[in-house]
Structure formats: structure tokens, C-alpha cells
């Protein structure tokens, strides 16, 4: 027992160190002070001809590196240094990187994960450049809405513009032409086609409800069951908006019905999106609802046997609305060369960039550009163009509030499993919305 004292003394030392650390800890986390905003008079569309180096932080490639190369051809004096980080790590680290002294000049922007950069004043309001370059005519307006927000970054589609897209995506329905002769023209026709596959003993629709596939299907149905303005207002955080609408009820019930009728594989809730895509690519199902990002892989596996259509409307009118997102880029408020960075953003809307974006697997920002698309991706571009030009791209529902994705994914799983009612599902979404935006 004579050993008792020294450990005690050690404990005291440890306690002292702990206390000291705890006290010094209070010095950290002071938050970040916003740098002074750029003077409006400095905004210019001409860029200096002497050498300039910009850094660009991003996670999506393609198209970023190819766009950088394309820009370099136009402006040989500008060097853009790419900093690539895999998506999951990017989302966690970019906020810190942007608040640091060595912040990248341009950063790929994710409105859901990065919107706290707006109230912190760490990314520039691009409206002065939008006016100078005429961006509202160059970028599809609906794609700029989700990248615009008020100063608190709670309400989208209003206030400042914080990023512009450098590649668009769109969600629709892929079908296997060996199992389905013709793309259905209306929602009832689509349901009849699903039933036909089911009756013949096949798997109607691959669904990756473990991740985002489940609510992408719900979203696609919602686009054709009701007024798109209501849904947009809700995602944008327009005061007083609600998702507990008849349209959302109808979309939810359609999805539940399809689950009851056995249109989804039994293990949909445990299937990741890439696995759902792989199942469809192997010919194990007739339909798959996902974005154009899957096209390259599907074309490789299925060749000419795969087609694409937007979720058809109940009446059979051509679909005017589709869900989509973008790879967007923002400019750091700490950048020493905001005009040069803005020139890069402007380049994203050019016809040259359109080709690069399309070849990188995206839909081009310049929707009228001749990209020479063939096969499946050409088919997607054909149906996407009119929708984008008619302002028909709507954002994904997980942008509506930061915690929304954790209501959507489990909620869809519960609907498929028959464990949740339509009203309970919509209520859970609205609760998350109210928690973020206030009633």
C-alpha cells in the first residue's frame, strides 16, 4: 500500500494540466470575422494580362479539371491550381478552409452543407458580376435560384447570388428496351408498364432507398402530381410554406402503392444507389429512377438497350418539370483576384465549356449549345433542354433544411415497409422544416 501516494500526486498533476487546458480552451472558437466586402467600383469583366494564380477547391471530377484546362486555353496568363478532396471529406473540411487565411479563391459550392459561409461573409455576393456579364441570360434562371439566398442563408431564391453552376444534372427514368418496348407517355401508362413487368415475373423498378434513390423517386412523382411553385417555395424556405399538401399526399400514396404492389425489390431499403444502378445495368429490372450521372455507366453495360424519359404526367402532357442539381462554384471573400475568378465562372456558361461539361457526364449550362450528343446521353440532353429553358428544374427536397435528409431517407424506408402513414411522413418533414425556418 505504500504505492498510494505517487499515483495520487500524478492524479493531481493531471488535474492541474486538465484545468490549464480547459482554461486556455476558452480562447479558441472565437468565430470568424467577415472581411470587408469588395467595392462595387472594382467589378470588371476585363482581366489583367499579367500572370495570376488562383486556387480552386472541389470534389467533383469530371468536369472541374477539364474546365480548368479549357479556361487556361482562353487565358494563358491565368493559372488555376486545383485542390481535389473526396466529397465526404470536402463537406467536412471546406468550411474551415474557407475561413482560414489561405482560403482557396474558388470553391465548389454545396448549398446544403456550406450555406453557413454566407452569413459569415466568407463568400462573395456575385450579383455585381451577374449584372456586368448578364448571367441571368446565360445560366438557366432556375439553376441560379437555389444558389441565391438572403443574408442568413435560410431562404433561397432571393437576395444575393453566391455561386453559379458549371454542370447540371437531371433526374428521370431509365428503362431497359428489351423489357419495355416503348417509353410510357403518361403516369397511368407507366404504372401499367410496371404491372406488366411484375405479371411476367420480373423486377419492375430498381430502387436504392438506403441512400437518396428513395426520395429521388418521391421527388420525381411530386413534380408531376402538383403545383411546382408550392414545392419550390417550400424548398427555398419561403415563410409559411408547407409540404403537407394534396400534391405531396398524392405522390406519397403513389409511392406506397407501388411498394404494396411489389414494384420495388424486397431489399430496396438496404440497397445503395450504386447497387441499384448495377442491378438495372445487369438487366435485373426494367426501370430505374436516377440522374443523368448514371448514364455513362449504363450505356457501357446496356449499349443501345437503355432509354431515358422524364417522369410522365398523369394527363400525358409532356413533362415540364424535373429535379436537378448542379456542380456550382463560389468565390472566396478573401480572394485577391475576384475579377479573374468571376471570369472563370463566366467561362462556365460558354459553348466551349458546354461541350466539356457534357463530355464529363453532365448536362451543359448553356442548354442551347451544340454538344453533339449521341445515344443515351444525347437522348437525355434532348428532353433536358426544353425543361431547363422553360425554367423547369426544381431542387432536391433535402435542401429544405439541414436535417431534412435524415427525415427523407428513413421516412421513405418506413413508407416502403408499410410502417408509416402518408400524413405522418409529411408531418415529419414539415417538423424539420419548421425547426429550421420557424412556423
Amino acid at each position: 500500500m505504500h504505492m498510494t501516494t505517487p499515483p495520487r500526486r500524478h492524479a493531481l498533476v493531471a488535474l492541474g494540466v486538465t484545468a490549464a487546458l480547459a482554461l486556455t480552451a476558452c480562447a479558441g472558437t472565437g468565430g470568424t470575422s467577415a472581411p470587408a466586402p469588395v467595392k462595387q467600383a472594382d467589378v470588371s469583366t476585363t482581366i489583367p494580362s499579367d500572370p495570376v494564380t488562383l486556387t480552386l477547391a472541389y470534389s467533383n471530377d469530371p468536369p472541374t479539371q477539364l474546365l480548368i484546362d479549357g479556361f487556361k486555353k482562353k487565358h494563358p496568363n491565368v493559372t488555376v491550381k486545383p485542390q481535389m478532396t473526396p466529397f465526404n471529406d470536402y463537406i467536412k473540411s471546406i468550411k474551415l478552409a474557407m475561413s482560414g487565411d489561405a482560403a482557396p479563391d474558388i470553391a465548389q459550392y454545396n448549398p446544403g452543407a456550406m450555406n453557413t459561409l454566407v452569413p459569415a461573409g466568407l463568400i462573395l455576393d456575385l450579383n455585381p458580376w451577374a449584372k456586368a456579364y448578364g448571367w441571368t441570360g446565360k445560366f438557366p434562371p432556375s439553376t441560379l435560384e437555389i444558389l441565391s439566398s438572403d443574408k442568413t442563408a435560410k431562404q433561397f431564391g432571393t437576395g444575393g447570388l453566391y455561386a453559379v453552376p458549371g454542370g447540371l444534372s437531371v433526374v428521370g427514368v431509365y428503362y431497359n428496351k428489351t423489357m419495355v418496348k416503348e417509353a410510357p407517355k403518361s403516369l397511368p401508362e407507366f404504372e401499367a408498364a410496371l404491372q406488366k413487368v411484375k405479371d411476367s415475373g420480373g423486377n419492375p423498378l430498381s430502387l436504392g432507398a438506403l441512400q437518396v434513390g428513395g426520395f429521388h423517386l418521391w421527388n420525381a412523382l411530386l413534380n408531376v402530381t402538383g403545383d411546382v411553385a408550392d414545392y419550390r417555395g417550400w424548398v427555398y424556405g419561403k415563410p409559411g410554406s408547407t409540404i403537407e399538401t394534396d400534391a405531396a399526399r398524392k405522390a406519397t400514396e403513389t409511392l406506397t402503392n407501388w411498394a404494396k404492389k411489389g414494384y420495388f425489390p424486397e431489399g430496396a431499403s438496404a440497397t445503395a444507389d450504386p447497387d441499384a444502378l448495377a442491378n438495372f445495368a445487369k438487366g435485373r429490372s426494367a426501370f430505374l429512377v436516377t440522374g443523368n450521372w448514371g448514364a455513362t455507366a449504363l450505356e457501357k453495360d446496356l449499349g443501345k438497350d437503355v432509354g431515358f424519359f422524364l417522369m410522365p404526367t398523369p394527363s400525358g402532357e409532356p413533362a415540364k418539370v424535373a429535379s436537378g442539381a448542379s456542380v456550382a462554384y463560389a468565390i472566396s471573400a478573401k480572394s485577391k483576384h475576384p475579377n479573374v475568378a468571376a471570369a472563370f465562372l463566366d467561362y462556365l456558361s460558354s459553348p466551349e465549356a458546354a461541350k466539356i461539361e457534357f463530355d464529363g457526364g453532365f448536362m451543359p449550362v448553356d442548354t442551347k449549345a451544340e454538344v453533339g450528343g449521341e445515344g443515351l446521353r444525347g437522348e437525355i440532353a434532348t428532353v433536358f433542354g426544353p425543361v431547363a429553358q422553360a425554367n423547369g428544374i426544381v431542387p432536391f427536397p433535402d435542401y429544405a433544411s439541414p436535417g431534412m435528409i435524415d427525415k427523407l431517407t428513413p421516412g421513405i424506408q418506413a413508407l416502403i415497409g408499410g410502417k408509416m402513414t402518408t400524413d405522418a411522413f409529411l408531418k415529419s418533414l414539415q417538423e424539420s422544416w419548421d425547426g429550421h425556418h420557424g412556423k
Binding site: 500500500m1 505504500h2 498510494t4 501516494t5 494540466v17 486538465t18 487546458l21 480547459a22 480552451a25 476558452c26 479558441g28 472558437t29 472565437g30 468565430g31 470568424t32 463537406i91 467536412k92 468550411k95 474551415l96 475561413s99 452543407a113 453557413t116 459561409l117 452569413p119 459569415a120 466568407l122 432507398a209 438506403l210 441512400q211 425489390p265 424486397e266 431489399g267 430496396a268 431499403s269 438496404a270 440497397t271 445503395a272 447497387d275 435485373r284 439541414p402 436535417g403 435528409i405 435524415d406 431517407t409 428513413p410 421516412g411 424506408q413 418506413a414 416502403i416 415497409g417 410502417k419 408509416m420
Partner: protein, 313 residues
């Protein structure tokens, strides 16, 4: 005991011991040198374990999104997370996981030890490698592999089909009732080898004469195991219990890649909720508060295990 505790510790004597050189009190300088040796490890430990832990406690009292200035909110974050029923469900799930991560692997490890001890002379290394392999593989790879094994067209259902039990087949991880069990069994697979390794190592330290004595007393194999092997590896059982219980309560990576809490929250665990609060919702304060609560739970359970298995001698 009491008198010993209250009496001051005997100071080191400067008198000659066993007639050798006189033992001197270490001067302060030598003491400092001792600390110097400890310093590198201590700095790493303080910087990367203790400091983040203290910082987490501090953050749990703040409302902070990771960027904007933080505001002090006291215990508000704690009140908020305790009002959310999701936390209790998640804790319940992690307690169920203890059965699969801890109880079953320890039992399996003991069984394998009993079977392998003293009987297998050749090929022991082979068994060790095979059973320890799950510990070497990264859990993310393990998780994705098991997700495929468990899928509706996966190997497990194919095997069931072959043996005529196809009607029991299902998408295991997507099944409302069985997802947590299916997830737990991945933990069992991963932890059993670790337990067996620990127990085998412990059992090899046991004096062979004890087995001989037991044999002479007429003890059969089972009795020998019960009265010689089992007491001999008691300390290892405690260690295994602590390690596996922490793995169950603080599980994250495995759940994140296999079910991500699904279907519909049936496999939510506290670690997953911490991640979502911090990285999906940007609520660093709430995430820290939940992490502190999780730490307290882990320490309580581990403390309980250590208390009940303590040396009573």
C-alpha cells in the same frame, strides 16, 4: 488497510540496504529527466486524446455551427437531445448490440479456446490468422461486403435456397425486425476472433502442472476447462469484455456503411446521431453534447464490467 492509508508513505531510506551501496533519494533533476522520457507520449496523449475530450465538453455548452461566433447556452443542448426520443431508441439498439458484439463473441472465443487448447499442435498459426483476420480488415470494407452477402440475391439467401430453406430468405438488412440482429452478427463475426486470440494467449500462461493435478484428481476435459482454464483467463475475459462493449456502444463505421440506421431508424446508434448532428445539420454543440452523453454511458458500462470482474483477493 485504514491505518496504512492514513499513515504517510514511508520515505525512501538512505540507510545501506543489504550492505551494498547507500541508496540515495533521487534528486529533483533525475525526477525531471524521468518526465522527459514520458513527455513525447504524454504530449501526443494530451494533444490528441485529452484535449479533444475537454474541448468536446466545452463545445457541448455552446451553440455553434462551426463558422459563426459561438454563443454560450449552458445545458440547453443536453435538454434538447434528451427530449428527442431518437436518442433512447439509439441507446437501446446499442445495448442490444452488446449481446452480439460482446456476449456471443466471448462465449464463442471460450469455446474455440477449449477446443484448440492443448490439442492442436500443428496449424495453430493457421487458425489464429483465420480467426483474427476480421480484426485486420477495415470495417468499411467488411461492411460493404456484408451488405452484399445479406442482399436479397446475396450469398446468404443463395445458401438458404440450396439447403431448401429458401422461404426464410429475405433482404436481411432491409428487414424491419431482423436488421439489427443481422447487423449484430457482423459484429459477432468480427469480434469472436479477437476474443479467441486473447483467451488463447491467456491460457498458454497457465501452468501445465495445474492440468496434471486436475487430471490426477479425475477431472474430465470439461471440468479441467471449468476449473483451470476459465479462472486462468479471467483477466483476459475482462479485457475482451471491455473492448467489445466499447465497440458495441460506440459503433459507427459498420452501421454507417451497412444500413446507415435503416430501415427507417431500426438500426440507429448514438454514434450515427452524433455524425448527423455535426455534419448534416451543422449543430456542433448538439453533436458534442450527445458525444459526451455517449462517453458517460460507455464509461458507466465499462466501469460496471470492471467492478464486477475485479480481483477480490
Amino acid at each position: 488497510m485504514a491505518s496504512e492509508l492514513s499513515s504517510p508513505a514511508a520515505p525512501p531510506r538512505a540507510t545501506p540496504v543489504r550492505g551494498g551501496e547507500p541508496q540515495v533519494i533521487h534528486p529533483p533533476k533525475r525526477r525531471l529527466r524521468g518526465w522527459l522520457y514520458v513527455l513525447p507520449a504524454l504530449a501526443v496523449y494530451l494533444g490528441f486524446a485529452i484535449w479533444p475530450a475537454i474541448n468536446t465538453v466545452r463545445l457541448s455548452l455552446l451553440s455553434w455551427d462551426g463558422i459563426l461566433p459561438a454563443t454560450f447556452v449552458g445545458i440547453e443542448n443536453y435538454i434538447k437531445i434528451f427530449r428527442d426520443s431518437a436518442l433512447f431508441e439509439a441507446i437501446l439498439h446499442s445495448l442490444v448490440l452488446i449481446v452480439f458484439f460482446s456476449f456471443i463473441p466471448i462465449a464463442a472465443g471460450l469455446l474455440m479456446t477449449a477446443l484448440l487448447m492443448g490439442k492442436v499442435r500443428k496449424g495453430m498459426t493457421f487458425f489464429r490468422v483465420v480467426f483474427f483476420l476480421p480484426q485486420v480488415l477495415p470495417l468499411v470494407a467488411v461492411g460493404i461486403t456484408w451488405r452484399w452477402l445479406y442482399s436479397d440475391t446475396g450469398v446468404i439467401n443463395q445458401i438458404l435456397d440450396v439447403v431448401g430453406l429458401g422461404s426464410f430468405g429475405r433482404a436481411w438488412l432491409g428487414d424491419y425486425q431482423l436488421a439489427l440482429t443481422a447487423l449484430g452478427l457482423i459484429g459477432t463475426w468480427s469480434m469472436s476472433g479477437l476474443c479467441m486470440m486473447l483467451f488463447l494467449t491467456g491460457a498458454q500462461k497457465i501452468d501445465p502442472s495445474l492440468y496434471e493435478a486436475a487430471k490426477l484428481d479425475g477431472a474430465n476435459t470439461f471440468r479441467q476447462f471449468l476449473h483451470v482454464t476459465l479462472p486462468g483467463v479471467r483477466k483476459e475475459i475482462t479485457v475482451a469484455g471491455v473492448i467489445t462493449t466499447i465497440a458495441a456502444l460506440a459503433s459507427f463505421d459498420l452501421v454507417f456503411v451497412t444500413t446507415n440506421g435503416g430501415p427507417a431508424g431500426q438500426t440507429n446508434v448514438p454514434g450515427l446521431l452524433v455524425y448527423r448532428l455535426a455534419f448534416n445539420e451543422g449543430d456542433i454543440g448538439g453533436a458534442s453534447a450527445l458525444a459526451v452523453v455517449l462517453t458517460v454511458i460507455v464509461m458507466t458500462v465499462v466501469g460496471g464490467i470492471r467492478y464486477f470482474t475485479r480481483d477480490r483477493d
